[in-house]
């Protein structure tokens, strides 16, 4: 049984207008995504801004209420649960937020921040709790003494580690990482990413990794879903998507990954021009008359693409 199944998940926001503020239209932030996660893998959700990748993550954990579709975690349909029962699942699904500056309460000391989930779900004595916090801080590579500091006394990377420590406090099975490194500078990005991979091996974690950085996603993920306008354009293993993109949108996205070798620069530029031309020519073929994305079709055993 897979750890998490998302079936035809939709999140629509109403657009209200007119005198009575009636619903006149909807924004289809997420418009029917389906995915399956096995334990221990890292699933990458990639797309441009506004493609609905963050909203998908938030809907899975329950911060947004889905308009339609279901999220099944270990065989339990999450969005049919009552609030109270659903709370139990927060233990197993945790989230690392995009902005380390706003995701930690500025008025709280580190020990209170990390202790929050522990106090909510586990009955521990003061000493036991303190030990656990120090353990977690060591796990994310911070000194145990930092438990008495405020978040503003840490650098961006350290703050993001605090966010990870908090997410790990309950030993969850699934962590949704919503652009965990996009607010950090590049040297720190690598640090946090490698650290996340390390603890994944150590603690047998499953990640949903939301990002717009294709390089980062390739480094982190086994499987990748490319999102466009709230739908999947292509889904498959990292090799499928990077080496054999089927949809022109994916092709263009992959072509945009920067190459570090200046010798290839001319070649890369030409290649990008070519892909752009192909994209412009075939745009009408790959999207329906409203610019929407087609349903996914199977390309190989692991590879799906929204082909006409």
């Amino acid at each position: 049984m897979s750890l998490l199944t998302v079936n035809n998940l939709k999140v629509h926001y109403p657009i209200r207008g007119g005198i009575l503020r009636r619903k006149i239209d909807v924004v289809r932030a997420v418009d029917g995504i389906t995915m399956e996660l096995e334990r221990g893998e890292t699933y990458g959700l990639v797309g441009e801004s506004g493609s609905g990748k963050s909203t998908s993550g938030r809907a899975i954990i329950g911060l947004e209420s889905p308009t339609a579709g279901e999220v099944t975690f270990e065989g339990q349909k999450l969005n049919q649960l009552k609030r109270q029962d659903r709370r139990e699942y927060y233990k197993d699904i945790q989230m690392v937020f995009q902005d380390p500056y706003s995701s930690l309460n500025p008025k709280k000391r580190v020990n209170d921040i990390i202790a929050e989930p522990i106090r909510n779900f586990e009955k521990r004595t003061k000493d036991d709790e303190r030990r656990r916090i120090q353990e977690l801080l060591e796990l994310v590579g911070l000194s145990p003494e930092s438990m008495h500091k405020y978040p503003h006394e840490f650098s961006g990377g350290q703050k993001q580690r605090l966010g990870v420590a908090r997410a790990l406090a309950l030993q969850p099975k699934l962590i949704i990482a919503d652009e965990p490194v996009s607010a950090l500078d590049v040297s720190v990005q690598a640090q946090v990413l490698n650290f996340m991979k390390e603890i994944q091996r150590e603690l047998d974690l499953t990640y949903i990794f939301i990002s717009h950085d294709l390089g980062v996603v390739r480094h982190m993920c086994n499987r990748i879903g490319i999102m466009y306008n709230g739908r999947f354009v292509e889904e498959g293993s990292a090799e499928d998507v990077y080496d054999n993109p089927q949809h022109i949108y994916t092709k263009r996205l992959v072509a945009a990954i920067p190459d570090i070798d200046p010798a290839n620069r001319k070649h890369q530029t030409d290649f990008r021009r070519e892909v752009k031309k192909e994209y412009d020519n075939k745009k009408a073929e790959f999207f329906d008359e409203h610019g929407g994305v087609f349903d996914l079709k199977q390309v190989s055993s692991t590879h799906y693409a929204a082909l006409p």
Binding site: Y90, D99, N105, P106, H148
Partner: protein
């Protein structure tokens, strides 16, 4: 300053808490201590409060408001430190008790209206959407009511008219401003990820409001309440001056000042109304000074310390 802090840290290296950074209230305190005007104002307000709340323990209000026809309009003397009014009542005693009554009203109104305003503001801001809409329409409704008129009517029809009923009726019309300020700040805070993170960590709404949201509103609450206190003392005096405050048996700063509506008193018997006027000025200015210092402390960009 830095040296003394280091010395403190070195004094007890065993203490785990030595490396703690200053908590929020310490920042507020430091800011007030740094600002000499605010510090002086704070001391002044505290000492005035001490005097007016402690001295009446030895003075009886009935004794002071008893009419004494043989001592009408006496100028200041050793017997009557600030003279007497047209009923032969000791002005100094009235000043002490009056200040106490005015302060009690000010503090009471600030506390009660603050409670209502904070609760509604936080609830509106935190839950947003429909809840916010309903509460804000109630606020709008209270804003358009002719406050002064209703207060005056209330005062006229209520038979037993005490400090407490006055606090109650004033608070009913003074909580909206606070609710709006708190709500706007709460609306901004709730969009931040730490509130959302709290939800994914399994905290209930009530817990999030009290342990996550409120600490981040604390500085704005303290500042608003302090500045409101100064204004509320003024409101009581204003109403009393107009004759809709307390009756003469319950002296207040406003009743003392309203004696000055009599032209002879205004011109010749300064001891009746000047001390009360100065006291009210000093109180409001001082509380305002402290409030301004607190406001600076709440905003790291303006901080001096």
């Amino acid at each position: 300053m830095e040296q003394s802090q280091q010395a403190e840290t070195m004094a007890d290296p065993q203490d785990m808490d030595a490396g703690k950074s200053p908590p929020g209230w310490r920042i507020l305190l430091t800011e007030v201590l740094r600002d000499k005007v605010a510090l002086f104002s704070l001391l002044l307000v505290v000492s005035i409060m001490m005097i007016v709340y402690l001295v009446p323990l030895f003075l009886s209000q009935e004794e002071i408001v008893r009419v004494d026809l043989f001592a009408i309009h006496e100028p200041p003397s050793s017997e009557f430190w600030l003279g007497t009014d047209y009923g032969g009542r000791d002005v100094f005693g009235q000043l002490i008790i009056g200040t106490r009554n005015s302060l009690t009203v000010g503090i009471g109104v600030t506390a009660v209206s603050g409670m209502i305003g904070i609760i509604l503001g936080v609830v509106a801001g935190y839950f947003g959407n429909t809840v916010d809409n309903i509460i804000m329409r109630i606020v709008d409704f209270f804003f358009v009511l002719p406050t002064l008129l209703i207060v005056i009517v209330f005062i006229v029809i209520v038979p037993q008219y005490t400090v407490w009923s006055f606090i109650f009726i004033m608070s009913m019309f003074l909580w909206m401003g606070i609710a709006r300020i708190i709500r706007s700040k709460a609306l901004r805070e709730r969009e931040l990820d730490y509130i959302k993170a709290s939800r994914t960590l399994g905290s209930s709404h009530l817990k999030i409001i009290f342990t996550q949201l409120m600490p981040n509103l604390s500085s704005i609450i303290i500042v608003t309440m302090t500045l409101n206190l100064a204004a509320n003392i003024g409101i009581e005096s204003g109403l009393s001056f107009l004759g809709f405050g307390f009756p003469e048996e319950t002296p207040s700063l406003g009743t003392l000042i309203s004696y000055a509506t009599n032209p002879t008193t205004l011109e010749e018997r300064w001891w009746i109304w000047v001390p009360a006027s100065i006291l009210i000025l000093v109180l409001m200015l001082s509380i305002n000074n402290v409030g301004q210092a607190l406001r600076r402390a709440a905003d790291a960009k303006q901080r001096r310390g």
